[in-house]
Symmetry: D2
Amino acid sequence: MNSFGRLFRVELFGESHGPALGCLVDGCPCGLPLAAEDFEADLARRRAGASGTTPRREADLPELASGVYEGRTSGAPLCVLFRNGDARSGDYELFARVPRPGHADFTASAKYRGFNDPRGSGHFSGRLTLPLVAAGVVAKKLLPALRFETRLVEAGGREDAAAAIAEAAAAGDSVGGLVEIRVEGLGAGLGEPFFDSLEGLVAHAAFAVPGVRGIEFGDGFRAAAMRGSEHNDRFVGAYGLTATNHAGGVNGGISNGSPLVLRVAMKPTSTIAASQATFDLASGAMTELSAPGRHDACIALRGAVALEAAVAVALADLSLIARSQEGSA
Amino acid sequence: MNSFGRLFRVELFGESHGPALGCLVDGCPCGLPLAAEDFEADLARRRAGASGTTPRREADLPELASGVYEGRTSGAPLCVLFRNGDARSGDYELFARVPRPGHADFTASAKYRGFNDPRGSGHFSGRLTLPLVAAGVVAKKLLPALRFETRLVEAGGREDAAAAIAEAAAAGDSVGGLVEIRVEGLGAGLGEPFFDSLEGLVAHAAFAVPGVRGIEFGDGFRAAAMRGSEHNDRFVGAYGLTATNHAGGVNGGISNGSPLVLRVAMKPTSTIAASQATFDLASGAMTELSAPGRHDACIALRGAVALEAAVAVALADLSLIARSQEGSA
Amino acid sequence: MNSFGRLFRVELFGESHGPALGCLVDGCPCGLPLAAEDFEADLARRRAGASGTTPRREADLPELASGVYEGRTSGAPLCVLFRNGDARSGDYELFARVPRPGHADFTASAKYRGFNDPRGSGHFSGRLTLPLVAAGVVAKKLLPALRFETRLVEAGGREDAAAAIAEAAAAGDSVGGLVEIRVEGLGAGLGEPFFDSLEGLVAHAAFAVPGVRGIEFGDGFRAAAMRGSEHNDRFVGAYGLTATNHAGGVNGGISNGSPLVLRVAMKPTSTIAASQATFDLASGAMTELSAPGRHDACIALRGAVALEAAVAVALADLSLIARSQEGSA
Amino acid sequence: MNSFGRLFRVELFGESHGPALGCLVDGCPCGLPLAAEDFEADLARRRAGASGTTPRREADLPELASGVYEGRTSGAPLCVLFRNGDARSGDYELFARVPRPGHADFTASAKYRGFNDPRGSGHFSGRLTLPLVAAGVVAKKLLPALRFETRLVEAGGREDAAAAIAEAAAAGDSVGGLVEIRVEGLGAGLGEPFFDSLEGLVAHAAFAVPGVRGIEFGDGFRAAAMRGSEHNDRFVGAYGLTATNHAGGVNGGISNGSPLVLRVAMKPTSTIAASQATFDLASGAMTELSAPGRHDACIALRGAVALEAAVAVALADLSLIARSQEGSA
């Protein structure tokens, strides 16, 4: 089960060392301008995010395999494909037998009874954020009025994130990060009460990015320590204008016209050089594992643009749903 | 759009001052023992949660309107109905015209162009957590091996939550709270990679509870400040046993056999006695609003059992999905 | 699993002899005028359809339990409830033990391992078409430009359906019927290629009516015997005007602007007075069963309005989906 | 919207003359043996079906682009890709301007406002049955106990289908056909009451095959002319054994253990050599169109294996749903 959305529907597929990976976007309206070049900016942001350490070289050339005709979406399902080049699987064969602490190696093996592809973490690879970013590009095409501002606000608890990452990398360790996303231009009325709340759908999508451990909107966890007289956004003008934005742009699950503001906590990369206790899946024997290879020291770096994509996908779906309800009476 | 789940599907309906409210649970397997009395314990927890101030008197007698035969689920859609007694709508008529800061009054009016039922907040009332709690009772019947432990760990940022709530209530104000939920007994293998991750589905469901502003799993936001060497849960025995539980029971979106641990931040009640700036929806004129009535001072009190229900609903669905994938090869 | 629709979503619940039955309609846009009286015409058509024999007396008063405020849909989930009066279950207790040939008694018992409610056929009762007809009324409110024309064109293979039914009833037997539905006013563009074709969704919904054995569009089964030169509808004017309508209003899964024309075959009522061979579910012993009670001689009579409702529900969903895709580029 | 299934979910993508086409199958359990060779038999049946006339040469080599590892399904989304070779689009450019009577040319243009890919009918091409057949192969792997028997029972109303097709082809015309599918090995209990009835889901899937005009189960349309005493299948043994199978294996939407028997009517190919009246989409001027090219004279020939695939997909989904409901009480 790897799809998201009711109308604007995204499905991710592929494995890190398999033939290809991609996204299938169904329900995208026809007529949107779309070309391979449109993906370049966000794919470059994702590549730049790999600078914590030296990552695997990825060509990342998207192929618009279906759903686009003469530079515009055709209304048919849109498949964006990425081919995998030659990859060295050897590094990872070990992890199929000896699960990395903190990683999906063990849970994937338990869930799929050993049938999962373990090469390069298989379907669980961070490389799957590549087609997610691509889906986000399509979503943002559908939402031209929105402005996304996404940044890594902290790593390792420090605002000087670059230094924190460099130190962790130097120590053969990794570090977590905090990403903030701000979306301007949403009108009031997006989202549904209860199960399809704006926050619920955005959170659902955001947790698709590997390594996410928490999400908060507006004042978020700080709101749990506040009083109503502090937290409520007073109206300062008719039709919903407020001076503050403690709510992060959502009341009752529905956008209120203020910017959507959310923060996402990403854990430190689980693959590290330090030796860690683990066990052999086949024999059950305890062992130690060290992964000195090329891994991102801070997945929040690459994660930021993937989170933005996930948010965009959720907003695209909510926006089509809202459109379907208009103009009846 | 007010439903949740792929196999165990829950839909909530009703308004605070309408004829009735309830939940419809579809996809619940047949043969589970279920009687009206089974709802009493959780409904009582929800009532007790109202002790911040004196709430509206609710009889809360569930009617098993369909789907149960001779004390067991029949396999047919299960409807649990609650009748609304006489309610004083007068208090709320004002809010239809003059939206409360922080509340859904404005967004509901914007979304539904004034056609929404404003009496007692209509479909946006906290009273809708009543059928959500009922759905959770059904979900927990399906998951007899699980043990849920849910508590309000803080209010107003203080562990002495009761005092914080009493002080806020005395001041005519409200206060936020932090709820922790711990679920023991989940095996390894629940949840899917990417969009249907365990965290994604649980978060999606949890945000259905009004007032939720954030959710985190395991170390949560603290993980953003940690290093991998601190955060990774080393294995201390074969087949996934770990001594620590930084991950909160989930790796790669899939349960790992350790307890699921999550925390939810709930904002302070938006309806307070203090005068707040707002405007008149009809005329656009600015005005002041004070709501001295009977409102919960801390929605996290009632919210805790509703959150537990939301988590149970998500786990029930994941559990049926997992069952469908077993035994093929 | 008893729901239908992606945006305009309908779920049916209840049992023939349980406390209540109803439909829950989610995703209905706000602002549609709707009152209990609006259901009367279609419910009366359904009652009249019972004239094959003397049916159980049904009050059939719909309660708008949620989703309607001051005579208009509020945008919240809409629940229409019907209370069951006192019913004599005795007649049916036998069928729980001794399944009627042709009926769901055996399959329901096999599927639900005996936990299903057998009283009056429980959830499998034709009485469930009551809330389906109610859902159709709501759907038709959303589609004010459409004109539905539904009629029983044959019973027992004869155009004089009334006589065929009367003869079957007099013989303690039952008879099948053929229903034709014609919908005018659909524009071109409704439906999707492949899985969400207009025919696919309409057929899916139509088979929800108990007793349906087949469905065809336009020339239908006759098309299998035709040549292309006969079957193709030549264009006689620009923008899709055709003189013939062999296609029944659909090409490539998408409405073409001509009237939608479909025919549905309904089987004869399975409960008949004649003695039929069956067996005892508990002991496995063979036995004979005769059901001399009050049963419709031709379910197509009542089925016609239920089929119209099912078609309307599918069209309402497709119409909201089409709306969501408009105006992008 | 081009996906089908709740648990075993299939999505088709691609265009006739685009870079690639394929299917994405999500929710397929892990551990099923699957290799490119497994597709050969059904793909060959589809190719052979093209013998009505000389079709475009298709290599039809499936690439297992994701979801398979070491010859078994891995539990991750499974993508089967087919590359399009060099195709002559010229033939079809005309149809983008001048719609073929009976074809999707006009409705696609109306729905997608001219943004659809018209080359070789684009996404509406019968070539999309290629990935549908591939999805069926995967579904049948999941259902090893089932035996499918699919045959073209009539073309042009004649049992000597080959002659009817040859005559139509010789006349530059096309002819419709009737396909019967029989599935043995389904146990009792598959399918749900009302909206997810076995017939409803199978019909929904079957109408995804281009050119389907009707579907019937068991006695089908003949049942509309029968009496209950003729149509009911008497039990001849305990636990549901019957001597006859008028019901085609389904009662009350649920399989009864007898073979599933259904028949599907397919219309004649709409692209024919004879001159037909049509119009120019751009200018609105009336014109004549003749398509002397290489087209199947009877789409039911290729359609048969595609229909079998569609049925298999629906049964795979129902089978996983049934599995999820087992073993609760």
